[in-house]
């Protein structure tokens, strides 16, 4: 089952928003609506987030991604379309049902942490449980546990103002974890942190995720972050989802010029995996496929990033075996293939850069905020 599903979801702000949706469906543009004082924040969004994956919504400011995430926990009600969370229709819920859904199913991490400054770190982490009506002993235990998970043992008694930015966001993360929901919404959660701390937090999130298997909807304007974290990525622009796929799909088959321009600066060797460039031996060698590979043979995991394969390839005399998680052969990677792939990447990048940016593809600043 999908944890979150959206079908043709719209959000229009202003007077008589439903009329705005009708006009959008009839082909009106976002700008035409704006002239009448309506803001089309999200237009015809359809996507699903599978259980246990990190789904990243990537877009620049004003692309509607923050509105999108706030519809998932009902902070904004969709103007039109369907939106289900854990199979339940969020659109039809009344206030009380929404509150229950937020307490039981969906927690959230905020860009500027949004901690309660007058409460201690421990009380902040326990906030969700307190709202649920969990007794003090129980929630203190859960909060301590969640704080330990994010590396903040012993900070329960401090106030948020005594913590650095990175630590405060760990408290934000612990608050969401302690709530014990299956789904976590993360709204630009690491965007306010400086680069080193940001990197640390990303690694920590990936590590936590491998243990906990939450469903995470992550919003960011940072493409590198999207590529690092996302099992799948939705690219948003001007309120619409323009492409939806894995990082590799978005890099290799950008849906339009906008996405292509956007991804051209990404270091592809850090995104593409051995699997995407390996050759699959045919004929005689083909019968080896699926066979276990001896420990003495130089091998790399199929999901290894190309940037890490390079070293292994340089150390190895002949071809590299590409194996799956149980060390069974799935393909072969020779130096020649690897160099060819890298050469192709460089050529693609050069081509993208020289491509004439059509005027309608760059009305928005491509520089990150």
């Amino acid at each position: 089952m999908n944890a979150i599903e959206a079908h043709g979801t719209y959000k229009v702000f202003g007077k008589r928003p439903a009329a705005g949706v009708a006009r959008l469906k009839a082909g009106a543009t976002r700008e035409e609506l704006r002239e009448d004082g309506l803001t089309a924040a999200v237009i015809d969004a359809s996507f699903e987030v599978r259980e246990g994956e990190i789904f990243v919504v990537m877009g620049l400011s004003g692309s509607g991604k923050s509105t999108l995430i706030r519809m998932v926990n009902g902070l904004w009600a969709p103007t039109a379309g369907e939106l289900t969370v854990c199979g339940e229709d969020i659109v039809k819920m009344n206030d009380k049902q929404l509150r229950t859904a937020r307490r039981e199913k969906v927690s959230m991490v905020f860009q500027h942490f949004a901690l309660l400054p007058h409460r201690t770190v421990g009380e902040n982490a326990a906030y969700g449980l307190q709202l649920k009506g969990v007794n003090r002993a129980e929630r203190e235990r859960s909060a301590t546990e969640a704080l330990a998970m994010v590396g903040l043992e012993g900070w329960e008694g401090s106030l948020p103002e005594q913590l650095s930015g990175g630590m405060r966001q760990r408290v934000g993360l612990a608050r969401a974890l302690a709530a014990g929901t299956d789904i976590m919404l993360m709204d630009e959660a690491f965007s306010a942190l400086d680069p080193l701390i940001k990197r640390e937090m990303q690694d920590q999130l990936v590590e936590l995720q491998s243990k906990l298997g939450k469903t995470i909807l992550f919003i960011t304007h940072d493409l590198n972050e999207a590529m690092r974290l996302g099992d799948r990525i939705a690219m948003m622009r001007d309120g619409r989802i323009v492409q939806n796929g894995t990082a590799e799909e978005i890099l290799n088959e950008p849906a339009n010029e906008f996405v292509a321009q956007f991804v051209q600066d990404v270091d592809r060797t850090r995104v593409l995996t051995a699997r995407s460039v390996m050759t699959i031996p045919a004929a005689g060698d083909g019968r080896l496929l699926g066979q276990p590979v001896a420990g003495t043979v130089a091998a790399v995991d199929a999901d290894t990033r190309l940037s890490e394969v390079l070293g292994a390839c340089a150390d190895c005399e002949g071809d590299l075996a590409v194996v799956d998680s149980r060390r069974r052969l799935v393909g072969v990677l020779s130096r020649a293939t690897l160099l060819q792939a890298l050469g192709q990447l460089a050529a693609d990048a050069a081509h993208d850069a020289s491509a004439d940016p059509a005027s309608d593809t760059t009305p928005m600043e491509v520089t990150a905020r």
Binding site: R99, R103, L115
Partner: protein, 322 residues
């Protein structure tokens, strides 16, 4: 010659209308005003008795001790000197009457003002109605209020309290609204995102975070209430206002000055003590300091290698202290 000069604006009987409304109110709501009147009278008289009970010097010491706890020894010392001066000027009993009047007015104004401010913060429509009403109450000369108030409540403490409330309630409402509207929207959103009810958001997040602003509002309510003390004297409330009124009637310059000085001393005392309460006070600072000792190397995380520019515990303390 323009046509404008020939337009004849008819006499608009606003005053008659107001009298009509007032007559209706007197005829139909008298029981309500009587009840209110009784409650206020009992409250003020009771408070006067309580403030007089320990005797002047002991009471002055108690006030000074309160200032010491809330805002420190300097203000406590100044307060003690000022209050002893009030005793020396033979104005202690009247000062306590004025204090009782101010405190009761403030309590009523706060009880009305804070909920009204909360409502105004939550709905733009309420805010739009409340704002001009407050403007009217604050800018209409206080003497004008005295006429209907005396009609309704007679002579004594009660009309003084009512006129004072009308004049002093505004900053309580306004600063409550301001404080709640200025609470970080993301924090309020976070409360909602974790499933807080509107009530839980109000009492758990908005009111605590707006508290410094609300306290500043209460401080202003008290100051305005005190500034009405003399006018209250005109309608028969005893206290320092009564002294001033009597002094005006008899041309007693010395008495007027002494009573006026006592008002100033009360004002300074109340202002400093409530302002300190608003900033979390002396006690609050003690508590925060104790907590900061728990977490010493907070900012360390920004130095991942930990080798250079180590942030020391004292740095952290200065940051927190600031």
């Amino acid at each position: 010659m323009s046509a404008v000069e020939f337009v004849n604006v008819p006499r608009i009987p606003v005053g008659d209308w107001f009298e009509g409304v007032f007559d209706w109110v007197t005829a139909n709501l008298e029981w309500l005003f009587d009840a209110f009147s009784t409650v206020i009278d009992v409250a003020v008289e009771g408070l006067v008795t309580a403030l007089d009970a320990p005797g002047a010097v002991l009471m002055a010491l108690i006030f000074a001790l309160l200032a010491l706890l809330v805002s420190g020894w300097r203000i406590a010392a100044v307060a003690l000197v000022g209050l002893l001066l009030v005793i020396g000027m033979d104005q202690w009993a009247t000062a306590m009457e004025t204090l009782a009047l101010v405190l009761v007015s403030t309590v009523v104004a706060v009880v009305i003002g804070i909920p009204l401010g909360v409502l105004a913060a939550r709905s733009d429509r309420t805010s739009k109605v409340v704002r001009p009403a407050l403007d009217l109450m604050q800018t209409m000369p206080a003497f004008v209020w005295l006429v209907p108030v005396v009609f309704l409540f007679g002579i004594g403490y009660v009309p003084g309290v009512v006129a004072t409330i009308i004049f002093a309630v505004a900053p309580g409402v306004r600063l409550t609204e301001l404080g709640i509207r200025n609470v970080d929207a993301e924090v309020v959103e976070a409360a909602q995102a974790f499933g807080a009810t509107p009530r839980q958001t109000l009492f758990g997040v908005q009111l605590p975070l707006a508290m410094p602003t609300i306290m500043a509002g209460i401080n202003q309510v008290i100051m305005l209430a005190l500034s009405m003390a003399v006018i209250a004297g005109l309608v028969g409330a005893r206290g320092l206002g009564g002294e001033v009124t009597a002094a005006i009637a008899t041309g007693d310059l010395g008495l007027a000055f002494e009573a006026g000085l006592a008002v100033v001393i009360l004002a300074v005392y109340l202002d400093r003590v409530t302002a300190a309460l608003g900033q979390g006070g002396h006690l609050g600072r003690f508590r925060r300091k104790a907590k900061s000792d728990v977490g010493e190397v907070a900012a360390d995380e920004n130095q991942p290698d930990g080798s250079e520019d180590l942030v020391t515990a004292s740095d952290v303390h200065t940051k927190i202290g600031a």
